[in-house]
């Protein structure tokens, strides 16, 4: 990479060290975050694939909210703090209800026309597992996962800056890809192309991801200003309504009457979600949010009603400019606006991020291996972690999809079993990478990717009848078709990589998938 140059060589050398060692230490954590984040771009579509019961036609007309009472009664019985309905939209054809009960989050899916609960098999799917994994690593203890992701995010920004500094021929490398030269050269070219082309996206997506959780990462902002009262801060910042619980039983007036009041207030807006605070309590209140799907700024209008009487308590349609800037960064990251071209662009650039991180690690391994004292114990650890971190997590993800279609619907703790399979396969891939010579490990894990991906597509068709041809034909099954096509593409890439590794020369006993 950068040799000592003419302009401030020591600074550049330090930045080279920062880039190399940050990448070696946090590269695979970053890969896992980028990989699950990329999948979370299509979390609702993954949900449809993993929950065949919600593959319905989009409803016509407004959803009758008062038909969803059964779910509300269940939330009251479960002593939930809030009860939330997400109404059908571009990416969700059913009504989703959510509450946090005594057994944690409860996701339910109702038929929008009849209000009947749909027989969804136990699964956390995309929005319940892959998406929270992206920002919490499912390590809830002391928010450890969220802090690790924050550290990795800061590291990613440091990698972006140091990468630009050590990179002198940034424009020339834009057009340079030499796959037929040595594997080391090809890997570095790919790293540079992915890095330079995706640089604005990678920097902004990382910064906006961190900014979302500013109150958690920088409590030194609100603590001195609000004397440690987070609720008071949030109330002032978002203009949100709040009042104390009455601890007396209470009822809920007609939600549809409140909804028509919201439509009268803002005739041009579409309803997106409804939340009832303190279900079952006399002080319960109902918050209606309108859709912000047409804009990046993730903030719709809000109207709050008294649950018992249906009287309008508060409404808000504008945020301050600073809060708008925050909700812009928020919306930029979580991609809840409805624009299919942009959504695909996020997906492709997310994959480019995975390529960037993966090739960076491969380049380090290739360079190290050639050193006289390069193949020691520490090297083997990084090598095994890299194999499990790149191909292992992909096998684990595809196994997560596959086991979803293989497990019987009735087994207890079905959702946990799926998650357990994900982590078991991931750990198994690390053990495998440690025990086998690296070239063989890459080869076998590439084949595993291909086999799990093809099997997932096959068993989706067998167990649901929604095969690729049928899914392409019916517009309400396009999410299924997209998922199947991406799995087939993944299998094709894995087979290509496996064949390339298999035919590579075994000169130094090791190879990478990019060997020429």
């Amino acid at each position: 990479m950068a040799s000592s140059g003419e302009s401030d060589p020591s600074f550049r050398r330090v930045m080279n060290g920062v880039h190399t060692w940050t990448g070696v230490i946090l590269g695979m954590l970053l890969f896992a975050i980028f990989w699950t984040g990329t999948l979370a771009v299509f979390d609702k579509e993954i949900d449809q694939w993993m929950m065949p019961a919600i593959r319905l036609q989009r409803p016509v007309g407004n959803v009758v909210l008062d038909k969803q009472r059964a779910s509300y009664a269940a939330a009251v019985a479960d002593h939930a703090f809030t009860w939330n309905i997400v109404l059908p939209n571009d990416r969700l054809t059913v009504v989703q209800t959510l509450w946090y009960g005594m057994r944690g989050p409860e996701y339910h899916y109702d038929n929008p026309e009849t209000g009947e609960e749909l027989p969804v098999v136990g699964t956390l799917a995309g929005s319940g597992f892959l998406y929270p994994f992206h920002y919490s690593l499912q390590l809830r203890f002391l928010n450890l996962g969220i802090w690790l992701v924050g550290l990795a995010g800061m590291a990613m920004m440091a990698l972006c800056v140091s990468g630009v500094i050590i990179h002198r021929k940034i424009f020339a490398d834009f057009f340079t890809f030499r796959p037929q030269r040595t594997s080391k050269r090809a890997v570095l070219d790919l790293h540079n192309v992915a890095g330079v082309l995706g640089l604005p996206f990678h920097f902004v997506v990382t910064l906006s991801g961190l900014v979302i959780l500013y109150a958690l990462y920088f409590p030194s902002g609100w603590i001195p200003a609000y004397g440690g009262n987070l609720r008071a801060f949030n109330q002032e910042a978002f203009g949100s309504f709040a009042r104390a619980k009455a601890n007396q039983p209470g009822s809920v007036a007609s939600l549809d009457a409140m909804a028509s009041e919201v439509r009268r207030l803002w005739p041009d807006e579409k309803l997106a979600s409804v939340t009832i605070y303190y279900p079952g309590d006399a002080a319960a209140y109902v918050e209606f949010n309108t859709s912000s799907a047409g804009q990046v700024v993730n903030s719709g209008n809000t109207a709050v009603f008294d649950a018992a009487t249906g009287a309008l308590l508060s409404r808000r349609s504008k945020l301050s400019s600073v809060m708008t800037a925050y909700r812009f960064m928020f919306g930029l990251h979580i991609v809840q606006f409805h624009h299919w071209t942009l959504r695909w662009l996020y997906f492709v650039l997310g994959l480019a991020g995975c390529v960037l991180i993966g090739t960076g690690s491969l380049f380090w391994l290739e360079s190290r291996r050639r050193r006289p004292a390069g193949g020691g114990f520490g090297f083997r650890i990084v090598e095994a972690l890299t194999i499990a971190g790149i191909s292992g997590i992909i096998v684990a993800t595809f196994s997560f999809f596959l086991v979803n279609r293989l497990l019987p619907a009735a087994i207890p703790n079905r959702a946990s079993v799926e998650v357990w399979v994900f982590f078991s396969v991931w750990i198994a891939s690390l053990v495998h990478a440690w025990l086998r010579p690296s070239r063989i490990a890459w080869l076998e894990q590439s084949w595993s990717i291909a086999v799990t991906a093809l099997a997932a597509v096959l068993f989706n068709a067998v167990t649901t009848g929604d095969n690729l041809a049928r899914a392409l034909w019916h517009s309400h099954l396009h999410a299924i078709a997209g998922m199947d096509l991406l799995l087939l593409l993944g299998a094709a890439v894995a087979i290509f990589a496996a064949r390339r590794i298999a035919s590579s020369r075994v000169d130094d006993g090791a190879a990478t998938p990019f060997r020429g």
Partner: protein, 98 residues
Amino acid sequence: VAKERTLARVTAHIVLVVVGGYIGASGIVALLSVALPAFAGMARSDAVVLSSMSGFIFYLALFLWGIAYRHSLRLALWLFVLTGACFSLVAVIHRVQV
């Protein structure tokens, strides 16, 4: 032995930059959160959100500067002075406002 000592020194420097940089950035965030409403007339919640969002950039800048700064002790001193000054000013502004 010399190599081990270098490794220990480098590790200590990195820990100092990662932890000290975060504390320094937190200090700047705290100061701006109370100073912007006091001196620039910004709404209190806006000041908190703006300064907290900028905190990540402060941290990044402190990290890159600190990692390139050779002298660990002098760096620790600088970060200590920065953080101390920020939180002292926060206390002063609080005192004046009450």
